[in-house]
Symmetry: C2
Subunit: 96 residues, 2 copies
């Protein structure tokens, strides 16, 4: 592959990534809309912010999906722990 | 809303989250497939792993998309920094 061709290839990959990232953001936006509603529900009924059992079941399921899709499970774990910690932070703010 | 109804509502929200998470994982899997190809290209042509200019343009664009979708920009920044750092780690491993 020539250097010029490699630059075109890199540009093409980056276009794919930009499209995938836009999809990621929209799904994340909908996910946080949903967890915000859960936060309101938990605040109303004074339910605990953290449900460790639910988290572990979620994570285990997502690792299986990741494995089937060829995605490194450590990435899934790091991303989901980050997202869940942001959700818990927002839920605790709703209670205060 | 009664307590029983709130439990049903919580369960319904969680079903939505499980579906969105499966979509997230599949998009992430495809994103890492694509960045792995970029890693091979960078290793072949000895291109730098980090492109700070590209990262900042990506992040700025995604923050705008997040704002339009009603998603907190700090969440986007944290998630994307995490994903990009995982990509850079894999690219540097490919070079060694």
């Amino acid at each position: 592959m020539e250097k010029l061709h490699s630059a075109e290839q890199l540009s093409s990959y980056r276009n794919t990534i930009d499209n995938l990232d836009a999809a990621l953001i929209h799904i994340l936006a909908e996910r946080f809309r949903c967890t915000n509603k859960i936060g309101e529900l938990k605040a109303t009924y004074n339910l605990p912010e953290v449900d460790t059992n639910r988290e572990e079941i979620q994570l285990s399921r997502l690792k299986t999906i990741a494995q089937d899709a060829g995605l490194d499970q450590t990435i899934v774990e790091k991303c989901m722990r980050l997202i869940i910690s942001e959700v818990i932070l927002r839920h605790s703010q709703m209670k205060n």
